[in-house]
């Protein structure tokens, strides 16, 4: 069968590939806010005065940055459900709380992305000059206000390149979920190539689609960075 027929013929697999592509995009789009948000929380906790909290956060990031993402996803994917079951039993809930494969994937990816992005947030927090905080405090703003009104608006600009990097990593990390249970783009390609015993065409097609995502992301990131830097040119 020709490549064309394998993809677009009557029994062509392009539909499944595109469905997988949608799942891949949905996975990264859903994960990003949770992962980045948790990363910011982690960064702030790492700067707290509480030594124990700081140490715990350091252990967390060191662990998840130090082990293969494949392994991390596997551990979270299976560990999380066990944890949920334990907790619901402890709370005396009837039955069990269940996570869909997709949301388990989102959580697993968020845990990893949080560890990565906390470093970016820390760097951008450090980049806001201390004088600004002092100035704001002397104007009578309380600490929450200082953070919300003075520091937070500047964070995004500084963190953008780093977060963009992690976004790229995240997009490619979603491919690892394919080895668990979610039919994302790569799994769709792998299913197609198994069924037809013609791997080349499907993995090439999947690669091309991934490349489209990253290229589009690159363009969007560039535009966002230009916009964020308007006042600094």
């Amino acid at each position: 069968m020709s490549w064309y027929a394998l993809l677009f013929g009557p029994d062509g697999w392009i539909g499944l590939l595109l469905k997988g592509a949608v799942v891949t995009v949905a996975l990264s789009v859903t994960t990003a806010p949770f992962g980045f948000g948790a990363g910011l929380a982690l960064a702030l906790m790492k700067m707290s005065r509480n030594r124990l909290l700081r140490a715990a956060c350091d252990v967390y990031t060191t662990f998840f940055r130090g082990i293969p993402d494949l392994l991390a996803l596997f551990i979270i994917y299976f560990g999380l459900q066990a944890l949920l079951d334990r907790t619901s039993k402890l709370l005396g809930l009837e039955g069990h709380l269940e996570l869909s494969a997709f949301s388990a994937g989102v959580i697993a990816l968020s845990v990893v992305v949080a560890a990565y992005s906390s470093e970016v947030w820390i760097a951008s927090l450090a980049a806001v000059p201390a004088g600004q905080r002092e100035a704001a405090q002397s104007l009578g703003l309380d600490r929450a206000q200082v953070f919300r009104l003075v520091i937070l608006p500047q964070l995004g600009r500084v963190a953008l390149p780093g977060l963009g990097n992690i976004w790229m990593i995240l997009q490619k990390d979603t491919a690892l979920i394919s080895t668990l249970a979610v039919t994302d783009l790569l799994r769709a390609a792998s299913e197609a190539s198994r069924a037809t015993t013609r791997p080349l065409v499907f993995y090439t097609a999947a690669g091309a689609l991934y490349l489209c995502f990253t290229l589009v992301s690159g363009v969007v990131q560039g535009a966002l960075e230009r916009r964020a830097n308007r006042g600094y040119a």
Partner: protein, 262 residues
């Protein structure tokens, strides 16, 4: 002692499992080390021409290098590995004819090939950044002194560029260590592969914990060694000059993305 803490203890310290299958983890570690070492070094060798081509003034050459980098950085390594391993199988008649089938037949070589191509793309970008960090004036001055291109590269650009590149290259090495776990998916019995094997036999989740700890030790060690090397080599630069690490009051934060990939 409450029952759950005994559970936890049994999970963390599982001597029976370690005694029976510990050697498997060690042979797996050996395989991981071989794959990572080879691919990283070969990738480093390949990265130089790619980086130089990327900076070439000839449009076609620099475009070609840029596309190479975009493709290998823009797609998941797992996809690249599948393409080389399973896709390569489709070319068997051709590969047999040109006499390279023995290479593609072996999962070990397929892994090394795809990891090398992948890390070369990342390392090329690191090297390019490092080379461009050397002030242009130095190159112009060297040229004015009549030094050849090769001599300029060797005596002026490279020593400074490599110093800048050490830390990102260290991070890249960490990424390769982590990414190498994918080899298990194409039948290689590396650390991850052996772990899966043991789990399939015992259904004992502790083995994944041990696997994680070994990887963690590996990556942390790498990070620290690279940091020490950088510290030592950059003594002359650091004296008086501003440091490249961001120093916040009291605490120093690690900046950048160590060991992130895929």
């Amino acid at each position: 002692m409450p029952a759950w803490s005994q559970d936890v203890l049994r999970f963390v310290i599982n001597t029976e499992l370690l005694a029976q299958y510990g050697w498997r983890l060690l042979t797996g570690l050996q395989m991981t080390a071989a794959v990572v070492g080879l691919s990283f070094c070969l990738g480093f060798v390949l990265a130089w021409p790619v980086a130089l081509a990327r900076m070439s003034r000839r449009f076609a050459v620099s475009r070609l290098a840029a596309s190479y980098i975009a493709v290998f950085r823009g797609t998941p390594l797992l996809c690249q590995l599948y393409l080389i391993y399973y896709g390569g199988g489709e070319f068997r008649p051709f590969f047999t004819e040109v006499g390279v089938w023995w290479f593609f037949r072996d999962a070990y070589y397929c892994c090394i090939l795809s990891f090398t191509l992948n890390t070369a793309a990342y390392q090329a970008e690191i090297l390019r950044g490092a080379i461009q960090s050397v002030p242009k004036g130095q190159v112009e001055a060297a040229r004015a002194l009549g030094l050849s291109w090769l001599a300029i590269m060797r005596h002026v650009v490279m020593p400074q560029a490599l110093l800048v590149a050490i830390r990102p290259l260290g991070n890249e090495l960490i990424s390769v260590i982590k990414a190498s776990a994918l080899a298990a998916i194409v039948t290689l019995l590396d650390l991850m592969g052996q772990t899966r094997f043991v789990f399939a036999r015992t259904f004992d989740f502790s083995i994944y914990l041990y696997c994680a700890l070994i990887y963690l030790a590996l990556t942390e060690m790498t990070r620290r060694v690279v940091e020490a090397i950088e510290m030592r080599l950059s003594r002359h630069v650091r004296a008086g000059a501003p440091s490249i690490t961001v120093v916040a009051p009291k605490r120093r934060y690690r900046v950048g993305l160590g060991g992130v990939r895929l």
